[in-house]
Subunit: 222 residues, 2 copies
């Protein structure tokens, strides 16, 4: 019945617009009563985002169940992926909703309040992990906001691709940016010892030939 | 008249609560007509945040007027201080409003939409500054979110102090955290500007031509 209500609602939103669709129209098309609608959805806005409550619950449980010693920034990045996965599970629905949300200011406001709740869930976990350390609350808030912004950047890219891009690759890239700014340095990739890396520092105005000679020398090829 | 309306509104909000105060009550106490109210404020919510529109305009102008060569992360941090200054100009009003906003869900939602507009103004400036560089949009979005989160953390500390703490010191500390994560390093060693240095990291087994191409690109000679 829940899925039937969502399907009926979206068919009407697309046909006649969100504002001109009433809850009565939705229940008439779905063939159920008003009480059934409100048993699942507190308001018309909620039917547009039917999975966020479940996803918020999943995210909170995921964070609460973090094994001891988990790197906290990596953990919140992985928690954010749960949201992206929810979108990616149903690309055509997500893309339709994205177009709808851009057109209806009330839905934009609703979405902001949902995003805020995800951000607070991430920040609450980080505040716990950073408790007692200098600027723990500040760092928790800043990192949670950065993770949400990176996630949303990836999500928008994916939605703009019409849901055809690879959501995981997009997310890896965006969240990697946050992890490199705030996370603990990761162990170097397998098979690459830091002794295998060469670092060359040069003045910007140095002649190129001199820099190349430096590089050759550092690489042991001179 | 505008100030009179704000004062009348807040007196009623504190006396009988936000929800139970109507625009009619406010204009009656202020001794003006309904049309005067709506000339200044599109809705009852707007009278709670009478200065955000002006502050958003100021911030946008401040960013648009950035001198060439300004370090962009420092600039958005300074732009965020304009918002804190607006709050700090009137501590008792700001603290009253903070308490009110925490109690009324509709005002929380309104505040989120205002914060979102500040964040988009900062991100738009950074997107312009990072245009053409790798991951420019992503970095712009992440840094704008981090600046807003740091600002809000400082603002909340200040509001919780009842407006008695030094707002600038709190902001310096919080925004400093963002600048050290994302900004260009400040105060380079004497006689050598950090912009003059190029650092290339390569795998020891990388082909020489690839390293040279990296160096050329880093030196801006490609």
């Amino acid at each position: 019945m829940r899925e039937g209500l969502v399907a009926a609602a979206f068919r009407l939103f697309l046909e006649r617009g969100y504002e001109r669709t009433t809850v009565d129209d939705i229940v008439a098309l779905a063939g159920v009563g008003r009480r059934s609608f409100f048993r699942y959805f507190p308001s018309k806005e909620d039917v547009v985002f039917p999975d966020h409550e479940r996803c918020l619950t999943d995210m909170t449980a995921y964070l609460a169940g973090s094994p001891a010693g988990t790197e906290p920034v990596r953990r919140v990045c992985d928690a954010a992926r749960l949201v992206l996965r929810m979108y990616a599970e149903n690309p055509s629905f997500s893309v339709q909703r994205y177009r709808l949300t851009k057109q209806v200011p009330g839905l934009r406001a609703y979405e902001l309040s949902v995003v805020w709740r995800y951000e607070r869930a991430l920040a609450a976990y980080l505040r716990g992990r950073f408790a007692g350390s200098a600027d723990g609350t500040l760092r928790a808030d800043v990192i949670a906001a950065a993770v949400v912004a990176a996630h949303n950047n990836a999500l928008r890219s994916w939605l703009r691709s019409g849901g055809t891009a690879d959501a995981n690759t997009t997310a890896d890239h965006a969240l990697g940016c946050v992890q490199s700014a705030f996370g603990e340095p990761q162990a170097p990739p397998r098979g690459l010892d830091s002794g295998d890396l060469v670092i060359v520092v040069a003045r910007r105005d140095a002649p190129l030939w001199r820099v190349v000679r430096e590089v050759e020398s550092a690489l042991g090829r001179d």
